[in-house]
Symmetry: C2
Protein backbone atom coordinates (compact mmCIF):
# COMPACT_ATOMS: atom_id res chain seq x y z
CA UNK A 1 0.00 0.00 0.00
CA UNK A 2 1.41 3.42 -0.90
CA UNK A 3 2.10 5.92 1.87
CA UNK A 4 -0.76 8.09 0.54
CA UNK A 5 -3.15 5.10 0.71
CA UNK A 6 -1.91 4.40 4.25
CA UNK A 7 -2.65 8.00 5.28
CA UNK A 8 -6.09 7.88 3.64
CA UNK A 9 -7.03 4.70 5.52
CA UNK A 10 -6.36 6.42 8.88
CA UNK A 11 -9.25 7.72 11.01
CA UNK A 12 -9.29 11.34 9.82
CA UNK A 13 -10.63 13.21 6.80
CA UNK A 14 -8.24 12.70 3.85
CA UNK A 15 -5.47 15.29 3.77
CA UNK A 16 -6.55 16.87 7.06
CA UNK A 17 -3.07 16.67 8.60
CA UNK A 18 -1.79 18.89 5.77
CA UNK A 19 1.96 19.21 5.54
CA UNK A 20 2.35 16.72 8.41
CA UNK A 21 1.17 14.00 6.01
CA UNK A 22 3.66 15.25 3.43
CA UNK A 23 6.58 14.84 5.87
CA UNK A 24 6.24 11.08 6.41
CA UNK A 25 5.40 10.59 2.74
CA UNK A 26 8.60 12.44 1.85
CA UNK A 27 10.64 10.40 4.36
CA UNK A 28 9.15 7.19 2.94
CA UNK A 29 10.37 8.19 -0.51
CA UNK A 30 13.82 9.14 0.77
CA UNK A 31 14.24 6.02 2.92
CA UNK A 32 12.62 3.82 0.24
CA UNK A 33 10.30 2.15 2.72
CA UNK A 34 6.58 2.10 3.53
CA UNK A 35 7.40 2.59 7.21
CA UNK A 36 9.45 5.79 7.42
CA UNK A 37 11.24 6.67 10.62
CA UNK A 38 12.73 9.93 11.92
CA UNK A 39 15.14 8.14 14.24
CA UNK A 40 18.01 7.82 14.74
CA UNK A 41 19.01 11.37 13.91
CA UNK A 42 22.35 13.10 14.29
CA UNK A 43 23.36 16.76 14.29
CA UNK A 44 26.71 17.58 12.71
CA UNK A 45 27.93 21.12 13.35
CA UNK A 46 30.89 22.24 11.27
CA UNK A 47 32.96 25.07 12.78
CA UNK A 48 35.56 27.36 11.27
CA UNK A 49 36.84 30.91 11.29
CA UNK A 50 36.92 33.40 8.47
CA UNK A 51 39.70 35.64 7.29
CA UNK A 52 37.12 38.20 6.21
CA UNK A 53 36.45 38.87 9.90
CA UNK A 54 39.43 41.28 9.65
CA UNK A 55 37.22 43.58 7.54
CA UNK A 56 35.00 44.34 10.56
CA UNK A 57 31.91 42.49 9.28
CA UNK A 58 30.74 41.06 12.65
CA UNK A 59 29.95 42.66 16.00
CA UNK A 60 31.52 39.66 17.79
CA UNK A 61 35.27 38.98 18.29
CA UNK A 62 36.70 36.02 16.36
CA UNK A 63 37.54 34.23 19.63
CA UNK A 64 33.81 33.59 20.05
CA UNK A 65 33.91 30.77 17.49
CA UNK A 66 36.21 28.63 19.67
CA UNK A 67 34.39 29.69 22.85
CA UNK A 68 31.03 28.73 21.37
CA UNK A 69 32.34 25.38 20.11
CA UNK A 70 33.40 24.67 23.67
CA UNK A 71 30.00 25.82 24.93
CA UNK A 72 28.21 23.57 22.41
CA UNK A 73 30.14 20.42 23.29
CA UNK A 74 29.70 21.11 27.03
CA UNK A 75 25.90 21.42 26.64
CA UNK A 76 25.35 25.15 27.18
CA UNK A 77 24.42 26.30 23.68
CA UNK A 78 20.94 26.35 22.16
CA UNK A 79 21.83 23.49 19.81
CA UNK A 80 23.18 21.30 22.58
CA UNK A 81 20.12 21.87 24.80
CA UNK A 82 17.77 20.95 21.94
CA UNK A 83 19.80 17.94 20.80
CA UNK A 84 19.79 16.57 24.34
CA UNK A 85 16.05 17.23 24.69
CA UNK A 86 15.34 15.29 21.49
CA UNK A 87 17.79 12.47 22.17
CA UNK A 88 19.81 13.41 19.10
CA UNK A 89 23.54 12.68 19.03
CA UNK A 90 25.48 15.80 18.17
CA UNK A 91 29.07 16.50 17.22
CA UNK A 92 31.12 19.56 16.38
CA UNK A 93 33.65 19.08 13.62
CA UNK A 94 36.43 21.67 13.78
CA UNK A 95 37.46 22.24 10.16
CA UNK A 96 39.36 25.47 10.78
CA UNK A 97 38.72 27.32 14.03
CA UNK A 98 41.27 30.09 14.69
CA UNK A 99 42.26 29.10 18.22
CA UNK A 100 42.81 25.87 20.10
CA UNK A 101 39.88 24.08 21.73
CA UNK A 102 40.26 21.59 24.57
CA UNK A 103 39.53 18.00 23.48
CA UNK A 104 36.05 16.61 24.15
CA UNK A 105 34.29 13.40 23.06
CA UNK A 106 31.79 15.43 20.99
CA UNK A 107 34.54 17.46 19.29
CA UNK A 108 36.11 16.06 16.11
CA UNK A 109 39.37 17.72 15.07
CA UNK A 110 39.61 17.85 11.27
CA UNK A 111 41.05 21.36 11.01
CA UNK A 112 42.41 22.29 7.58
CA UNK A 113 44.09 25.45 8.80
CA UNK A 114 43.31 28.05 11.48
CA UNK A 115 40.78 30.20 9.55
CA UNK A 116 40.37 30.81 5.85
CA UNK A 117 42.19 33.64 4.11
CA UNK A 118 40.46 37.01 3.85
CA UNK A 119 38.38 36.75 0.66
CA UNK A 120 38.42 40.53 0.36
CA UNK A 121 42.04 40.23 -0.77
CA UNK A 122 42.62 36.63 -1.96
CA UNK A 123 40.78 33.32 -2.42
CA UNK A 124 39.54 31.94 0.91
CA UNK A 125 41.33 28.64 0.35
CA UNK A 126 43.51 26.79 -2.16
CA UNK A 127 42.19 24.15 -4.55
CA UNK A 128 43.81 21.41 -2.48
CA UNK A 129 42.24 22.73 0.72
CA UNK A 130 38.85 22.92 -0.99
CA UNK A 131 39.00 19.29 -2.09
CA UNK A 132 40.20 18.16 1.34
CA UNK A 133 37.48 19.90 3.32
CA UNK A 134 34.79 18.74 0.87
CA UNK A 135 36.01 15.17 1.46
CA UNK A 136 36.00 15.70 5.24
CA UNK A 137 32.33 16.67 5.06
CA UNK A 138 31.63 13.47 3.16
CA UNK A 139 33.66 11.38 5.60
CA UNK A 140 31.69 12.66 8.59
CA UNK A 141 28.53 11.06 7.18
CA UNK A 142 30.34 7.72 7.38
CA UNK A 143 32.07 8.39 10.69
CA UNK A 144 29.55 10.30 12.83
CA UNK A 145 26.27 9.71 10.95
CA UNK A 146 26.65 6.06 9.95
CA UNK A 147 23.60 4.93 11.95
CA UNK A 148 21.44 7.99 11.26
CA UNK A 149 18.33 8.03 9.06
CA UNK A 150 18.01 11.82 9.44
CA UNK A 151 20.95 14.24 9.42
CA UNK A 152 20.82 17.82 10.71
CA UNK A 153 23.77 19.86 9.45
CA UNK A 154 24.66 23.13 11.15
CA UNK A 155 27.52 25.56 11.57
CA UNK A 156 29.39 27.85 13.91
CA UNK A 157 31.75 30.51 12.62
CA UNK A 158 31.92 34.20 13.47
CA UNK A 159 31.58 36.22 10.23
CA UNK A 160 30.16 33.30 8.26
CA UNK A 161 27.02 35.16 7.12
CA UNK A 162 29.46 37.34 5.13
CA UNK A 163 30.86 34.27 3.43
CA UNK A 164 27.42 32.76 2.88
CA UNK A 165 26.02 36.02 1.50
CA UNK A 166 28.94 36.29 -0.92
CA UNK A 167 28.48 32.68 -2.10
CA UNK A 168 24.71 33.17 -2.53
CA UNK A 169 25.12 36.46 -4.40
CA UNK A 170 27.68 34.87 -6.74
CA UNK A 171 25.57 31.76 -7.42
CA UNK A 172 22.29 33.67 -7.84
CA UNK A 173 23.84 36.52 -9.82
CA UNK A 174 22.54 39.13 -7.42
CA UNK A 175 24.21 42.26 -6.05
CA UNK A 176 25.25 41.92 -2.41
CA UNK A 177 22.62 44.30 -1.03
CA UNK A 178 19.81 41.97 -2.14
CA UNK A 179 21.15 39.08 -0.11
CA UNK A 180 23.12 40.58 2.79
CA UNK A 181 21.56 40.99 6.23
CA UNK A 182 22.32 41.78 9.85
CA UNK A 183 23.88 38.40 10.68
CA UNK A 184 24.33 38.25 14.45
CA UNK A 185 23.09 41.82 14.75
CA UNK A 186 24.82 44.51 12.68
CA UNK A 187 23.20 47.94 12.57
CA UNK A 188 22.42 49.73 9.29
CA UNK A 189 25.93 51.22 9.04
CA UNK A 190 27.45 47.80 9.68
CA UNK A 191 25.30 46.20 6.98
CA UNK A 192 26.28 48.91 4.46
CA UNK A 193 29.95 48.17 5.16
CA UNK A 194 29.37 44.40 4.89
CA UNK A 195 27.64 44.89 1.52
CA UNK A 196 30.60 46.96 0.25
CA UNK A 197 33.08 44.27 1.35
CA UNK A 198 31.07 41.57 -0.42
CA UNK A 199 30.52 43.58 -3.61
CA UNK A 200 34.27 44.21 -3.84
CA UNK A 201 34.94 40.50 -3.35
CA UNK A 202 32.42 39.60 -6.07
CA UNK A 203 34.34 41.92 -8.42
CA UNK A 204 37.68 40.37 -7.37
CA UNK A 205 36.59 36.71 -7.75
CA UNK A 206 34.70 36.44 -11.03
CA UNK A 207 34.52 32.68 -11.76
CA UNK A 208 30.90 31.58 -11.18
CA UNK A 209 31.49 27.83 -11.30
CA UNK A 210 30.12 26.57 -7.96
CA UNK A 211 33.44 25.01 -6.91
CA UNK A 212 35.31 28.20 -7.70
CA UNK A 213 32.71 30.29 -5.86
CA UNK A 214 33.03 28.09 -2.78
CA UNK A 215 36.82 28.07 -2.90
CA UNK A 216 37.16 31.83 -3.33
CA UNK A 217 34.29 33.09 -1.16
CA UNK A 218 33.30 30.15 1.05
CA UNK A 219 34.36 29.02 4.46
CA UNK A 220 35.77 25.68 5.49
CA UNK A 221 32.54 24.86 7.37
CA UNK A 222 30.39 25.82 4.37
CA UNK A 223 32.36 23.54 2.05
CA UNK A 224 32.28 20.71 4.60
CA UNK A 225 28.47 21.10 4.85
CA UNK A 226 28.33 20.74 1.06
CA UNK A 227 30.31 17.52 1.25
CA UNK A 228 28.10 16.17 4.02
CA UNK A 229 24.96 16.92 1.99
CA UNK A 230 26.33 15.19 -1.11
CA UNK A 231 27.30 12.06 0.81
CA UNK A 232 24.02 11.91 2.76
CA UNK A 233 22.18 12.13 -0.54
CA UNK A 234 24.30 9.34 -2.03
CA UNK A 235 23.35 7.17 0.97
CA UNK A 236 19.61 8.14 0.90
CA UNK A 237 19.74 9.72 4.34
CA UNK A 238 17.20 12.50 4.88
CA UNK A 239 18.61 16.00 5.36
CA UNK A 240 16.73 18.42 7.58
CA UNK A 241 18.05 21.74 6.28
CA UNK A 242 18.71 24.55 8.78
CA UNK A 243 18.67 28.30 8.04
CA UNK A 244 20.49 30.81 5.85
CA UNK A 245 24.07 29.48 5.87
CA UNK A 246 22.94 25.85 5.70
CA UNK A 247 20.68 26.67 2.73
CA UNK A 248 23.46 28.54 0.92
CA UNK A 249 25.71 25.49 1.35
CA UNK A 250 22.89 23.40 -0.10
CA UNK A 251 22.49 25.80 -3.03
CA UNK A 252 26.15 25.23 -3.85
CA UNK A 253 25.78 21.46 -3.42
CA UNK A 254 22.71 21.46 -5.69
CA UNK A 255 24.66 23.34 -8.38
CA UNK A 256 27.20 20.49 -8.23
CA UNK A 257 24.55 17.73 -8.07
CA UNK A 258 20.84 18.66 -8.23
CA UNK A 259 19.76 15.22 -6.99
CA UNK A 260 20.85 16.26 -3.47
CA UNK A 261 17.51 18.11 -3.25
CA UNK A 262 15.65 14.79 -3.40
CA UNK A 263 16.57 14.01 0.22
CA UNK A 264 15.94 17.48 1.69
CA UNK A 265 13.26 18.72 4.07
CA UNK A 266 13.53 22.45 4.79
CA UNK A 267 13.09 23.19 8.48
CA UNK A 268 12.56 26.92 8.82
CA UNK A 269 12.48 30.33 7.22
CA UNK A 270 15.18 32.40 8.90
CA UNK A 271 14.79 36.12 9.48
CA UNK A 272 18.24 36.65 7.90
CA UNK A 273 17.61 38.82 4.85
CA UNK A 274 18.95 36.59 2.09
CA UNK A 275 17.26 33.34 3.08
CA UNK A 276 14.04 33.85 1.10
CA UNK A 277 15.87 34.39 -2.20
CA UNK A 278 17.91 31.21 -1.72
CA UNK A 279 14.83 29.19 -0.73
CA UNK A 280 12.96 30.53 -3.76
CA UNK A 281 15.76 29.46 -6.07
CA UNK A 282 15.43 25.94 -4.63
CA UNK A 283 11.58 26.03 -4.76
CA UNK A 284 11.68 25.27 -1.04
CA UNK A 285 8.86 25.83 1.44
CA UNK A 286 10.15 25.42 5.01
CA UNK A 287 8.01 23.93 7.77
CA UNK A 288 8.47 26.72 10.33
CA UNK A 289 8.65 30.49 10.19
CA UNK A 290 9.43 31.72 13.70
CA UNK A 291 11.83 34.61 13.13
CA UNK A 292 14.85 32.56 14.20
CA UNK A 293 18.39 33.49 13.03
CA UNK A 294 20.81 31.65 15.34
CA UNK A 295 22.43 28.98 13.18
CA UNK A 296 24.01 25.94 14.92
CA UNK A 297 21.22 23.79 13.35
CA UNK A 298 18.77 25.29 15.86
CA UNK A 299 16.05 25.77 13.23
CA UNK A 300 16.39 22.16 12.13
CA UNK A 301 16.37 21.00 15.76
CA UNK A 302 13.24 23.08 16.44
CA UNK A 303 11.45 21.45 13.48
CA UNK A 304 12.67 17.93 14.23
CA UNK A 305 9.68 17.04 16.49
CA UNK A 306 7.41 17.55 13.46
CA UNK A 307 9.19 14.67 11.72
CA UNK A 308 8.84 12.47 14.79
CA UNK A 309 5.16 13.36 15.12
CA UNK A 310 4.47 12.66 11.45
CA UNK A 311 6.13 9.23 11.48
CA UNK A 312 4.49 8.29 14.78
CA UNK A 313 1.04 9.23 13.47
CA UNK A 314 1.54 7.16 10.33
CA UNK A 315 2.76 4.20 12.36
CA UNK A 316 0.27 4.30 15.24
CA UNK A 317 -3.03 5.81 14.10
CA UNK A 318 -5.84 3.29 13.66
CA UNK A 319 -7.49 2.78 10.29
CA UNK A 320 -11.25 3.17 9.79
CA UNK A 321 -11.44 -0.64 9.60
CA UNK A 322 -9.35 -1.26 12.73
CA UNK A 323 -11.29 1.26 14.81
CA UNK A 324 -14.71 0.35 13.39
CA UNK A 325 -15.34 3.97 12.41
CA UNK A 326 -17.73 4.62 9.50
CA UNK A 327 -16.02 6.33 6.60
CA UNK A 328 -17.85 8.64 4.24
CA UNK A 329 -19.30 7.05 1.15
CA UNK A 330 -16.79 6.23 -1.54
CA UNK A 331 -13.72 6.59 0.67
CA UNK A 332 -10.81 4.29 1.17
CA UNK A 333 -10.38 2.60 4.49
CA UNK B 1 15.99 39.44 36.46
CA UNK B 2 13.21 39.79 33.88
CA UNK B 3 12.62 36.98 31.39
CA UNK B 4 13.89 39.27 28.61
CA UNK B 5 17.11 39.94 30.57
CA UNK B 6 17.47 36.19 31.15
CA UNK B 7 17.14 35.54 27.40
CA UNK B 8 19.65 38.30 26.60
CA UNK B 9 22.24 36.82 28.98
CA UNK B 10 22.17 33.48 27.15
CA UNK B 11 24.92 32.54 24.67
CA UNK B 12 23.25 33.71 21.44
CA UNK B 13 22.73 37.02 19.67
CA UNK B 14 19.88 38.91 21.36
CA UNK B 15 16.49 38.01 19.87
CA UNK B 16 17.96 35.36 17.60
CA UNK B 17 15.51 32.67 18.73
CA UNK B 18 12.66 34.87 17.47
CA UNK B 19 9.19 33.72 18.46
CA UNK B 20 10.70 30.88 20.51
CA UNK B 21 11.91 33.51 22.99
CA UNK B 22 8.43 35.05 23.00
CA UNK B 23 6.84 31.72 24.02
CA UNK B 24 8.68 31.29 27.34
CA UNK B 25 8.37 35.02 28.02
CA UNK B 26 4.61 34.71 27.50
CA UNK B 27 4.40 31.61 29.72
CA UNK B 28 6.39 33.44 32.42
CA UNK B 29 3.80 36.24 32.38
CA UNK B 30 0.89 33.80 32.46
CA UNK B 31 2.36 31.62 35.21
CA UNK B 32 3.67 34.68 37.08
CA UNK B 33 7.11 33.19 37.53
CA UNK B 34 10.65 33.78 36.23
CA UNK B 35 10.99 30.06 35.53
CA UNK B 36 8.12 29.15 33.20
CA UNK B 37 7.31 25.52 32.54
CA UNK B 38 5.26 23.80 29.83
CA UNK B 39 4.60 20.73 31.98
CA UNK B 40 2.38 19.24 33.16
CA UNK B 41 -0.05 19.69 30.30
CA UNK B 42 -3.46 18.14 29.74
CA UNK B 43 -5.66 17.80 26.65
CA UNK B 44 -9.41 18.08 27.23
CA UNK B 45 -11.53 17.07 24.24
CA UNK B 46 -15.21 17.95 24.47
CA UNK B 47 -17.51 15.83 22.30
CA UNK B 48 -21.11 16.31 21.24
CA UNK B 49 -23.50 15.86 18.36
CA UNK B 50 -25.40 18.49 16.43
CA UNK B 51 -29.05 18.62 15.42
CA UNK B 52 -28.07 20.58 12.33
CA UNK B 53 -26.51 17.38 10.98
CA UNK B 54 -30.03 16.57 9.74
CA UNK B 55 -29.66 19.36 7.16
CA UNK B 56 -26.97 17.35 5.29
CA UNK B 57 -24.04 19.63 6.17
CA UNK B 58 -21.38 16.91 6.65
CA UNK B 59 -20.15 14.06 4.45
CA UNK B 60 -19.85 11.79 7.52
CA UNK B 61 -22.70 9.99 9.33
CA UNK B 62 -23.53 11.24 12.84
CA UNK B 63 -22.53 7.88 14.33
CA UNK B 64 -18.92 8.81 13.63
CA UNK B 65 -18.85 11.14 16.66
CA UNK B 66 -19.34 8.25 19.10
CA UNK B 67 -17.09 5.97 17.07
CA UNK B 68 -14.30 8.55 17.05
CA UNK B 69 -14.66 9.21 20.78
CA UNK B 70 -14.14 5.50 21.31
CA UNK B 71 -11.15 5.57 18.94
CA UNK B 72 -9.64 8.55 20.79
CA UNK B 73 -9.87 7.00 24.25
CA UNK B 74 -8.50 3.68 22.95
CA UNK B 75 -5.43 5.40 21.47
CA UNK B 76 -6.10 5.15 17.72
CA UNK B 77 -6.89 8.76 16.81
CA UNK B 78 -4.38 11.43 15.82
CA UNK B 79 -4.91 13.28 19.10
CA UNK B 80 -4.37 10.18 21.21
CA UNK B 81 -1.17 9.23 19.36
CA UNK B 82 0.26 12.74 19.82
CA UNK B 83 -0.81 13.05 23.47
CA UNK B 84 0.87 9.73 24.27
CA UNK B 85 4.02 10.76 22.35
CA UNK B 86 4.26 13.99 24.37
CA UNK B 87 3.37 12.43 27.73
CA UNK B 88 0.24 14.57 27.94
CA UNK B 89 -2.76 13.29 29.88
CA UNK B 90 -5.87 13.40 27.73
CA UNK B 91 -9.57 13.00 28.39
CA UNK B 92 -12.73 13.08 26.32
CA UNK B 93 -15.68 14.74 28.01
CA UNK B 94 -18.99 13.61 26.49
CA UNK B 95 -21.31 16.60 26.80
CA UNK B 96 -23.92 15.38 24.32
CA UNK B 97 -22.94 12.59 21.94
CA UNK B 98 -25.93 11.09 20.11
CA UNK B 99 -25.27 7.43 20.89
CA UNK B 100 -23.95 5.46 23.82
CA UNK B 101 -20.20 4.97 24.28
CA UNK B 102 -18.68 2.15 26.33
CA UNK B 103 -17.14 3.40 29.58
CA UNK B 104 -13.38 4.03 29.64
CA UNK B 105 -11.04 5.65 32.20
CA UNK B 106 -10.29 8.51 29.78
CA UNK B 107 -13.98 9.11 29.03
CA UNK B 108 -15.92 11.49 31.28
CA UNK B 109 -19.70 11.30 30.97
CA UNK B 110 -21.22 14.75 31.47
CA UNK B 111 -23.81 14.53 28.69
CA UNK B 112 -26.48 17.23 28.76
CA UNK B 113 -28.67 15.53 26.21
CA UNK B 114 -28.04 13.35 23.15
CA UNK B 115 -27.26 16.05 20.55
CA UNK B 116 -28.36 19.67 20.36
CA UNK B 117 -31.56 20.67 18.58
CA UNK B 118 -31.34 21.56 14.90
CA UNK B 119 -30.51 25.29 14.89
CA UNK B 120 -31.99 25.57 11.41
CA UNK B 121 -35.42 25.32 13.05
CA UNK B 122 -35.04 26.17 16.76
CA UNK B 123 -32.38 27.26 19.31
CA UNK B 124 -29.70 24.58 19.71
CA UNK B 125 -30.25 24.44 23.47
CA UNK B 126 -32.33 25.95 26.28
CA UNK B 127 -31.04 28.65 28.63
CA UNK B 128 -30.76 26.10 31.43
CA UNK B 129 -28.80 23.69 29.24
CA UNK B 130 -26.49 26.51 28.17
CA UNK B 131 -25.67 27.45 31.76
CA UNK B 132 -25.18 23.80 32.72
CA UNK B 133 -22.76 22.96 29.92
CA UNK B 134 -20.81 26.21 30.47
CA UNK B 135 -20.41 25.17 34.12
CA UNK B 136 -19.32 21.66 33.10
CA UNK B 137 -16.53 23.17 31.00
CA UNK B 138 -15.39 25.18 34.02
CA UNK B 139 -15.60 22.14 36.31
CA UNK B 140 -13.35 20.08 34.03
CA UNK B 141 -10.50 22.52 34.68
CA UNK B 142 -10.79 21.66 38.37
CA UNK B 143 -11.44 17.96 37.85
CA UNK B 144 -9.23 16.90 34.94
CA UNK B 145 -6.78 19.81 34.67
CA UNK B 146 -6.12 20.56 38.34
CA UNK B 147 -2.38 19.80 38.11
CA UNK B 148 -1.84 21.25 34.63
CA UNK B 149 0.11 24.42 33.86
CA UNK B 150 -0.84 24.22 30.17
CA UNK B 151 -4.27 23.19 28.89
CA UNK B 152 -5.03 22.07 25.32
CA UNK B 153 -8.75 22.20 24.58
CA UNK B 154 -10.13 20.31 21.59
CA UNK B 155 -13.36 18.93 20.21
CA UNK B 156 -15.03 16.08 18.35
CA UNK B 157 -18.49 16.46 16.85
CA UNK B 158 -19.66 15.65 13.34
CA UNK B 159 -21.18 18.82 11.79
CA UNK B 160 -19.55 21.13 14.30
CA UNK B 161 -17.88 23.33 11.68
CA UNK B 162 -21.44 24.34 10.74
CA UNK B 163 -22.14 25.38 14.31
CA UNK B 164 -18.77 27.14 14.67
CA UNK B 165 -19.19 28.95 11.33
CA UNK B 166 -22.64 30.15 12.39
CA UNK B 167 -21.34 31.39 15.77
CA UNK B 168 -18.38 33.15 14.12
CA UNK B 169 -20.54 34.78 11.45
CA UNK B 170 -22.98 36.02 14.11
CA UNK B 171 -20.26 37.39 16.40
CA UNK B 172 -18.21 38.98 13.59
CA UNK B 173 -21.26 40.31 11.72
CA UNK B 174 -20.26 38.55 8.51
CA UNK B 175 -22.38 36.70 5.94
CA UNK B 176 -21.95 32.93 6.12
CA UNK B 177 -20.06 32.62 2.83
CA UNK B 178 -17.14 34.65 4.22
CA UNK B 179 -16.57 32.23 7.10
CA UNK B 180 -17.87 28.83 5.95
CA UNK B 181 -15.50 26.19 4.57
CA UNK B 182 -15.24 22.56 3.60
CA UNK B 183 -15.09 21.18 7.14
CA UNK B 184 -14.19 17.51 6.91
CA UNK B 185 -14.30 17.71 3.13
CA UNK B 186 -17.47 19.04 1.47
CA UNK B 187 -17.30 19.76 -2.25
CA UNK B 188 -18.37 23.11 -3.73
CA UNK B 189 -22.05 22.11 -3.91
CA UNK B 190 -21.95 20.93 -0.33
CA UNK B 191 -20.40 24.20 0.84
CA UNK B 192 -23.06 26.22 -1.00
CA UNK B 193 -25.75 24.25 0.80
CA UNK B 194 -23.98 24.66 4.16
CA UNK B 195 -23.78 28.44 3.59
CA UNK B 196 -27.52 28.58 2.83
CA UNK B 197 -28.36 26.63 6.00
CA UNK B 198 -26.21 28.98 8.11
CA UNK B 199 -27.53 32.17 6.49
CA UNK B 200 -31.10 31.03 7.17
CA UNK B 201 -30.18 30.30 10.80
CA UNK B 202 -28.58 33.73 11.17
CA UNK B 203 -31.88 35.25 9.98
CA UNK B 204 -33.87 33.05 12.37
CA UNK B 205 -31.75 33.76 15.50
CA UNK B 206 -31.09 37.49 15.57
CA UNK B 207 -29.83 38.19 19.12
CA UNK B 208 -26.08 38.97 18.87
CA UNK B 209 -25.30 38.83 22.58
CA UNK B 210 -22.53 36.17 22.83
CA UNK B 211 -24.50 34.00 25.25
CA UNK B 212 -27.55 34.09 22.99
CA UNK B 213 -25.41 33.34 19.94
CA UNK B 214 -23.88 30.32 21.66
CA UNK B 215 -27.22 29.08 22.96
CA UNK B 216 -29.01 29.38 19.61
CA UNK B 217 -26.22 28.41 17.18
CA UNK B 218 -23.58 26.70 19.31
CA UNK B 219 -22.94 23.11 20.23
CA UNK B 220 -22.62 21.60 23.67
CA UNK B 221 -18.89 21.02 23.11
CA UNK B 222 -18.35 24.59 21.91
CA UNK B 223 -20.04 26.03 25.00
CA UNK B 224 -18.09 23.67 27.27
CA UNK B 225 -14.83 24.81 25.61
CA UNK B 226 -15.84 28.38 26.42
CA UNK B 227 -16.34 27.46 30.05
CA UNK B 228 -13.01 25.67 30.20
CA UNK B 229 -11.23 28.70 28.74
CA UNK B 230 -12.83 31.08 31.23
CA UNK B 231 -11.91 28.91 34.22
CA UNK B 232 -8.35 28.27 33.00
CA UNK B 233 -7.92 32.03 32.63
CA UNK B 234 -9.25 32.63 36.15
CA UNK B 235 -6.65 30.16 37.45
CA UNK B 236 -3.76 31.57 35.31
CA UNK B 237 -3.30 28.34 33.40
CA UNK B 238 -1.88 28.77 29.89
CA UNK B 239 -4.22 27.85 27.03
CA UNK B 240 -2.72 26.47 23.83
CA UNK B 241 -5.49 27.25 21.35
CA UNK B 242 -6.25 24.71 18.60
CA UNK B 243 -7.82 25.43 15.20
CA UNK B 244 -11.04 26.85 13.77
CA UNK B 245 -13.66 25.51 16.18
CA UNK B 246 -11.45 26.06 19.22
CA UNK B 247 -10.75 29.64 18.12
CA UNK B 248 -14.45 30.35 17.55
CA UNK B 249 -15.19 29.10 21.08
CA UNK B 250 -12.45 31.45 22.29
CA UNK B 251 -13.94 34.35 20.32
CA UNK B 252 -17.20 33.79 22.19
CA UNK B 253 -15.38 33.49 25.52
CA UNK B 254 -13.47 36.70 24.82
CA UNK B 255 -16.73 38.53 24.09
CA UNK B 256 -17.88 37.46 27.57
CA UNK B 257 -14.52 38.24 29.25
CA UNK B 258 -11.69 39.73 27.17
CA UNK B 259 -9.07 38.93 29.84
CA UNK B 260 -9.22 35.28 28.74
CA UNK B 261 -6.91 36.29 25.88
CA UNK B 262 -4.13 37.07 28.37
CA UNK B 263 -3.44 33.36 28.91
CA UNK B 264 -3.64 32.24 25.26
CA UNK B 265 -0.97 31.02 22.88
CA UNK B 266 -2.31 30.27 19.39
CA UNK B 267 -0.97 27.00 18.04
CA UNK B 268 -1.73 26.92 14.34
CA UNK B 269 -3.43 28.46 11.35
CA UNK B 270 -5.97 25.94 10.10
CA UNK B 271 -6.77 25.57 6.42
CA UNK B 272 -10.49 25.81 7.28
CA UNK B 273 -11.75 28.90 5.46
CA UNK B 274 -13.04 30.97 8.38
CA UNK B 275 -10.07 30.63 10.71
CA UNK B 276 -8.10 33.64 9.43
CA UNK B 277 -10.99 36.05 10.00
CA UNK B 278 -11.47 34.85 13.57
CA UNK B 279 -7.72 35.01 14.30
CA UNK B 280 -7.59 38.53 12.85
CA UNK B 281 -10.43 39.66 15.10
CA UNK B 282 -8.39 38.40 18.07
CA UNK B 283 -5.11 39.91 16.72
CA UNK B 284 -3.68 36.39 16.96
CA UNK B 285 -0.58 35.11 15.17
CA UNK B 286 -0.37 31.31 15.46
CA UNK B 287 2.96 29.50 15.77
CA UNK B 288 2.40 26.99 12.96
CA UNK B 289 0.84 27.07 9.51
CA UNK B 290 0.90 23.54 8.15
CA UNK B 291 -2.42 23.22 6.33
CA UNK B 292 -3.98 21.12 9.10
CA UNK B 293 -7.78 20.92 9.56
CA UNK B 294 -8.45 17.91 11.77
CA UNK B 295 -9.62 19.29 15.11
CA UNK B 296 -9.31 17.07 18.22
CA UNK B 297 -6.64 19.52 19.52
CA UNK B 298 -4.21 18.08 16.96
CA UNK B 299 -2.89 21.53 15.97
CA UNK B 300 -2.26 22.39 19.61
CA UNK B 301 -0.61 19.01 20.17
CA UNK B 302 1.60 19.53 17.10
CA UNK B 303 2.76 22.91 18.43
CA UNK B 304 3.22 21.75 22.00
CA UNK B 305 6.89 20.71 21.54
CA UNK B 306 7.68 24.36 20.71
CA UNK B 307 6.58 25.32 24.25
CA UNK B 308 8.71 22.57 25.75
CA UNK B 309 11.71 23.59 23.65
CA UNK B 310 11.33 27.26 24.57
CA UNK B 311 11.12 26.60 28.32
CA UNK B 312 14.00 24.10 28.19
CA UNK B 313 16.23 26.57 26.34
CA UNK B 314 15.49 29.30 28.88
CA UNK B 315 16.18 26.94 31.76
CA UNK B 316 19.26 25.15 30.45
CA UNK B 317 21.23 27.41 28.08
CA UNK B 318 24.43 28.81 29.57
CA UNK B 319 24.92 32.55 29.94
CA UNK B 320 27.90 34.35 28.40
CA UNK B 321 29.37 34.58 31.91
CA UNK B 322 28.81 30.89 32.74
CA UNK B 323 30.29 29.67 29.46
CA UNK B 324 33.12 32.24 29.37
CA UNK B 325 32.04 33.40 25.93
CA UNK B 326 32.92 36.99 24.94
CA UNK B 327 29.84 39.10 24.30
CA UNK B 328 29.84 41.96 21.84
CA UNK B 329 30.67 45.37 23.29
CA UNK B 330 27.88 46.95 25.27
CA UNK B 331 25.80 43.78 25.64
CA UNK B 332 24.30 42.24 28.71
CA UNK B 333 25.68 38.99 29.93
Amino acid sequence: MSTLDRWNAKTKPPGSLGKIEWIATRLAAIEQTDHPQATPAVALLFAADHGVHAEGVSPYPQAVTAQMVSNIVHGGAASSVLAKLHGIEHFVIDVGVASEIAPHPRLVNRAIRRSTHNFAVQPAMSEGEFERVLAIGRECINAQAAQARVVLVGEMGIANTSSASAVAAALLGLPAHEITGAGTGLDATGITHKVAVIDAALALHTDRDPRAVLRCLGGFEIVAMCGAYLEASAQRKALLIDGFIATVALLAAARMDPTVLDVCIFSHQSSERGHRAVLNDLSAEPLLSLGMRLGEATGALMAYPLLVQSCTLLAEMATFAEAAVDNRAGSLG
